[in-house]
Symmetry: C2
Subunit: 505 residues, 2 copies
């Protein structure tokens, strides 16, 4: 379904595309470039009543026009859902796992389904008008932390969950197969089963609801080919675990109704009701800012808001470059470590063993000590070859996974920051709008206040991002280096043993 | 100069090429394929007196004919030497060091200058006739060792020498420059100075004198381009050292007059006299077998001799393959270790440092611990890159050098073994020769005895080779593995230190 909200501020609109009225339908023909006046925006079903310059009135499709100014227009993220009867084929997206290929698939969560409309300032400003009309279920609070500035209100207990135990299930008398993962929240400790498409449903809901304020990273790649293979299932499970942990860690997301719904399951009826409610949730898109309350924080001035915004933008862009760079290098290193390098160690090992067997054929007495030692050295290098080939899975893998996750996360930021930039631009125009009588001075104050709230929200989100980033990178680097140390130590041990078998004469 | 010895056993010879007599010179015209009878082999200057089927007698060039049977013919290795006034250009052989290029340059010492003539049985059998005519300076004894069979008589004191201190010298008022190496024998401890060309002179003398019985490995590649560069001088010195040590270790070579001459220097007159004497030495080529005495060893039967010969042949060929294989693999590994691999570690290091500097720009408090640790980790990987690139010089280098030396040595064996195989073939024909009245039964006994001596000599040489090989490979493998262990330990240490800088939160 597609929800559209509009709010009258001014009545002028530009026609974007030609539209020929169908006779007998109360429609109005319009031409690209024409300016029309909106007479009734509450028609619904994608239609709006408008009047052209010749005074003719009729219905026009709302996506054929662009409101010139003052007219607030929201496109809430559209998604076509056949309720519970999703076809299995819908996730038949050509894509294959692994780092090399997934690099093309940018994180950009909001890029799907009319994302650009979101960043329009009109959508942002609706929050000014709609703020107090919304049925607010939850208010997310931003506090001031002494050290880092605005932060989300974190719960006392850090939610987490375990994604495990993938099981093959089937329906339609075995005609359709799927994999079900067991998700166990640390709060209830009661496992619930979810298929990939349920995770995807959750993702879409979170994106719709929080995407303007909080970057919602993509789920692991959709993939059909090989999706029942153990290796793939393990990888997907690992990535779903990573995604879920990230969502659990976020105070806003983890406390949301839709997320809690996903983690709990009483019965089928309850679940279906919850799903329908979530899909009908109207506090989505930029509306989410109406549910955010910077508690006891002074309004920011425009320059400050702008500076914060630019700083985050620069940072996320730079980090995005850095992360991609690391992924490219890691990917090359992965290839070398699993391809030519172990082959070379294997060949060295074989060459030593070959020389050993040649030596054995010498017929010379007292050869055995050397040939045994040479064979052992050769086998050691073969073992090293295998260690080298298997090592990336033990260390580089996690470094890559973490950076891959961050690549996805960072890919969401341009849109998130874009919403704020657009708001700033609009607030800058506020004086003109007041002078032109298009908004009241009180509206202007509200706009500034909203921009300030958005900035606090962004700052809280960035601080959340930073603290998680510091935690994640500390952890993954520790893990990486620890495994690297073990790896090199084990090689040294093996070689030391091989060395000891040669005799000094 | 070119020395030729011939010894009459029979008078029949085949004409190899057409030769037109020059009138008034006592020459005889001969045609390819014609059979002639030798009437006087003591003409000298490359000429022989022969009679054709029509009874005409005249001089024919000795290298235009091949003695049909029984006629012994020696070509002693020829070399053109301008005494001390060698031109600097003579060592202007296009060649460049390094493993990749030197692989083409096979060891094959005897391949130079009419080597194939040597392996002719005729040359071998001369030793039967000449044995007791030769002015024997030294007799090299082969003993029976309980463990391994025939061995050379080893001196009580193992000679060695140190090649060091390369210095640039010049002559002709600075017009010609050269590098002089200081060679210090452990016996006298008195250093003598030698240029590369002196080493080469020694090599040629040793090859001429001992090449039929003992494989004389080539000197390090001749090279003109870059020969005054420090890196090259160091490499050449190292290889000259290896060559000299190998020569010192050989009981026959190290006790030879020419080798002792090289290691000592009283005055210029003494040196020049020694050189001239060495160049005029007639106990060269297969003649050397006349100076070898299997002390108290029973004559071997033909089958035994043949078996030994085949065994050595198979072994040296298999080892040659094994060594070349190892060199190819080592060379590839060298390239990877000095090329793409450190570049990759460097890029990993840079990526970590880059990420660190991005993180520093976050403006987030409490970032310093992570960024410092990330920078340190990045620098660690840069250090590892350098270690990786420098490591081959510390370990693979010696493994390659040793195998390169052995490649050269093994390249000499086919010729050495060939001399023996030819002798065996001839001994097999002995009965026929006796029956045809071409040799006496006593000659046959002498031939068998000689073949037995040659076999003992080959066995002693193989045992020398084997014991040295076992020593060398034990040593080089120990050295290689020791350095490899150190290398991996140092990497583990560095990474452990880098790891410790990340904090768990």
């Amino acid at each position: 379904m597609c929800f559209t909200y509009a709010c009258l501020v001014s009545t002028q609109a530009q026609v974007l595309y030609d539209f020929a009225a169908e006779p007998g339908n109360n429609e109005l023909s319009i031409r690209e470039g024409e300016t029309i006046t909106i007479t009734n925006q509450n028609i619904g079903g994608g239609w709006i009543e408008a009047k052209n310059s010749r005074g003719e009135v009729g219905l026009v499709p709302e996506d054929y026009i662009e409101v010139s100014n003052g007219y607030i227009y929201i496109y809430i993220y559209c998604m076509y859902i056949q309720d519970d009867e999703w076809d299995e084929e819908w996730d038949d997206v050509k894509s294959s796992g692994g780092y090399a290929e997934s690099e093309a698939g940018e994180g950009g969560a909001i890029n799907r389904g009319g994302a650009h409309d979101w960043t329009y300032i009109q959508e942002v400003l609706i929050t000014i008008s709609f703020l107090y009309d919304v049925d607010v279920y939850t208010v997310y609070t931003v506090f001031q932390s002494g050290e880092v500035g605005p932060v989300w209100a974190y719960p006392d207990y850090q939610l987490d969950c375990v994604v495990a135990d993938p099981k093959k299930g089937s329906k339609l008398y075995g005609l359709k197969s799927y994999i079900e993962y067991q998700v166990t929240p640390t709060t209830t400790n009661k496992p619930v089963n979810h298929r990939y498409k349920h995770f995807d449903w959750l993702y879409e809901r979170l994106l719709e609801k929080f995407g303007s304020a909080i970057p919602i990273p993509c789920l692991p790649d959709k993939q059909v080919a090989g999706r029942f293979e153990d290796e793939f299932i393990k990888m997907r499970m690992e990535r779903l675990q990573g995604w879920m942990t990230r969502m659990c860690r976020h105070p806003v997301i983890s406390s949301s109704e839709v997320f809690q719904l996903f983690l709990s399951y009483k019965d089928e009826k309850d679940w279906k009701m919850g799903k329908r409610k979530a899909e009908k949730d109207e506090t989505v898109g930029v509306m989410v800012f109406s549910t955010i309350e910077p508690e006891g924080l002074p309004d920011l001035d425009l320059i400050e808001v702008e500076q914060k915004c630019d700083q985050f933008n620069r940072f996320t862009r730079a980090m995005d470059d850095g992360v991609k760079d690391l992924l490219t290098i890691g990917n090359e290193h992965w290839k070398r470590c699993t391809g030519p390098l172990p082959k070379e160690y294997q060949r060295i090992g074989k060459a030593f063993q070959n020389l050993s067997s040649v030596f054995t054929s010498s017929g010379y007495e007292g050869e055995a000590a050397l040939t045994d030692a040479l064979t052992a050295a050769g086998k050691t290098y073969e073992e090293i070859a295998q260690m080298v080939a298997e090592q990336p899975k033990k260390d580089l893998h996690f470094l890559m996974e973490t950076n891959n996750e961050y690549k996805g996360l960072l890919g969401c930021f341009p849109d998130t920051v874009g919403v704020h930039k657009a708001a700033i631009e609009k607030v800058k125009e506020a004086d003109k709008l007041v002078a032109a009588g298009k908004i009241t001075p009180s509206d202007k104050t509200t706009m500034s206040k909203r921009a300030s709230t958005m900035s606090y929200s962004l700052q809280a989100e960035m601080n959340h991002f930073h603290s998680n980033r510091i935690y994640d990178y500390n952890r993954v680097m520790q893990q990486y280096l620890e495994q690297q140390v073990k790896f090199y130590e084990m090689i040294a041990d093996k070689l030391r043993h091989a060395h000891s078998q040669f005799t000094t004469m």
